[in-house]
């Protein structure tokens, strides 16, 4: 009754009864937009707080605990601070591109939200090439970073942007190849189909070693793609002060900051969808009772739980490892991840053709 899909279809039906289909469509789009922006804001608040807490606990600190109960309002206070801050544009900067860049970063993050299935039958756009769409659109992120770096007219920014360009372009490859492993197994690019194919077991359990390897590679590659430590060369605080967003302040900086977290959320959502079964509950073989209990947990909770687990893993990376150097970063991709994932794709194809997977 209260599942997200029921609510959405109820709204859909009511709108269609009240208005003519075109208006209903427009209103629905409007609602979807508001919902996405609302989700963005919420995710930004939650993820920033989560990151700070994870970092604090790993660093034997307490973390934010002053604003609100248990410091829950800390990120809200930060947002207010960023909102009222002066958004400066440097004198020598290319003003148009400088101001455009954070919005592009944000738009890319928003576009990526479209094909993600948040719960059972709850998806903005069930695209038949959903996976391809995600990999394609996420590459546009690099444009905003390059734009920010170039337009800032700052040497640190430029270096950060150039590093990030090299990095994202290379890591696209292994991220794409590891996604392809799942596509090969499923035989579909449609995200809903991929999730349905996992109704009798998640791919990470069904797919033998190739999926395990591609899962690891996927996590590493998306960490690099989202410019998170240990691959945060575009920011590289101790080398480039703040990398591509050195010159940004106030809300423009906040948009970059938010976009980074949203991107982390999205890639983790994709990871959860492809490898951990999206909203599919956890089932064990023939344990009927156990499986039924699992089914009672709402599908949206399953989805967010898995996603946040992956986000936690990525945060765990960040607060444990030192940063790589730019040449080592590219070595890792071209000498290790890419050959391994290519070989892995071959293996996966063979297994898929021979039907050795469960």
């Amino acid at each position: 009754m209260w599942s997200l899909s029921n609510i959405s279809s109820a709204i859909h039906n009511w709108l269609n009864q009240t208005f003519n289909p075109t208006w209903a469509m427009i209103i629905e789009m409007f609602i979807a937009g508001i919902a996405v922006i609302g989700l963005f804001a919420l995710l930004g608040l939650v993820l920033v707080l989560m990151e700070r807490r994870v970092a604090a606990w790993m660093q034997i600190r307490l973390g934010p605990n002053r604003v609100g109960p248990f410091g829950l309002l800390q990120s809200a206070a930060d947002t207010v601070k960023l909102l009222v801050k002066e958004g400066m544009t440097p004198n020598g900067a290319d003003k148009f591109l400088f101001n455009l860049a954070p919005f592009i970063a944000m738009m890319v993050a928003m576009l990526l939200m479209a094909p993600i299935a948040f719960a059972k039958d709850f998806q903005l756009w069930n695209l038949n090439i959903g996976v391809l769409y995600v990999t394609a659109v996420s590459s546009i992120m690099v444009v905003s970073i390059l734009m920010a770096g170039w337009a800032s007219n700052n040497k640190y920014s430029l270096m950060g942007a150039m590093r990030s360009g090299a990095q994202i372009v290379s890591y696209e490859l292994s991220a794409g190849l590891s996604i392809l492993t799942i596509v090969v197994f499923t035989g579909s690019l449609n995200i809903a189909d991929i999730i349905n194919a996992q109704s009798n077991g998640w791919w990470i359990f069904k797919g033998h070693i190739p999926v395990l390897i591609s899962f690891v590679i996927f996590i590493v590659a998306v960490t690099a793609e989202t410019n998170r430590a240990p691959f945060d060369l575009a920011e590289a605080e101790s080398e480039l002060t703040a990398g591509f967003h050195t010159e940004y302040s106030g809300m423009k900086f906040a948009l970059f900051f938010l976009a980074e977290y949203i991107n982390v959320f999205i890639v983790c959502a994709i990871g959860a969808t492809l490898f951990l079964g999206g909203w599919m509950p956890f089932h064990i073989g023939h344990w009927k009772a156990f499986n039924q209990v699992m089914d009672y947990i709402p599908t949206s909770i399953w989805f967010f739980g898995k996603t946040f687990f992956l986000i936690f893993v990525i945060m765990w990376f960040r607060w444990t490892f030192p940063r790589l150097r730019i040449d080592q970063l590219l070595n890792l991709e071209w000498k290790y991840l890419l050959p391994i994932s290519m070989f892995n794709l071959l293996l996966a194809t063979a297994i898929a053709i021979l039907g050795w997977h469960f």
Partner: protein
């Protein structure tokens, strides 16, 4: 064998990373290890070390008497001209003139807490206090006069 070495290298690398993650994971789950001191909240229970050098004070007893003879040993010992002693001449009951301090001026803003004045004092009149919250809005508030009004030198101290 190239391939064997390659695979060994990869697994060795992953193992070393996992060891590090185990360590941070341990601290993530063991909150008893947290060492944060919540400073302004624990003000009531905070105990400073008894030798902590916070600021120079002139000790007064209950009769509002101190032990400073105004010999300026501390003034000479100070590397930064933190202490300035202004003397005056008291008239003793016998009608003699006697040197005594008028003002013991102490510039906290110049003080580096080097403890040399305390060591130099022949009568142990001054000592280091354990206060440390010295922030004020006006720099002039840091110029302190250490002898309390109407205080006198303790009898028997030369």
């Amino acid at each position: 064998m190239f391939i064997v070495n390659y695979i060994k290298e990869v697994f060795g690398a992953i193992k070393s990373l996992l060891i590090g993650m185990r360590r941070t994971g341990y601290y993530f789950t063991h909150h008893k290890e947290i060492i944060t001191e919540q400073y302004p909240d624990n003000r009531n229970t905070l105990v400073m070390a008894d030798r902590f050098k916070g600021e120079v004070v002139l000790t007064h007893d209950e009769q509002n008497e101190h032990a400073c003879t105004g010999c300026t040993a501390c003034e000479l010992a100070c590397p930064n001209a933190t202490i300035k002693i202004v003397t005056k001449f008291d008239i003793t009951p016998e009608g003699k003139k006697k040197k005594a301090i008028d003002k013991f001026v102490y510039h906290l803003e110049l003080c580096t807490m080097c403890n040399l004045c305390i060591v130099a004092c022949p009568t142990d009149a001054i000592k280091m206090a354990q206060t440390f919250e010295h922030s004020v809005y006006d720099r002039n508030e840091l110029i302190k006069i250490l002898n309390k009004p109407d205080s006198k030198i303790r009898a028997g101290i030369e």
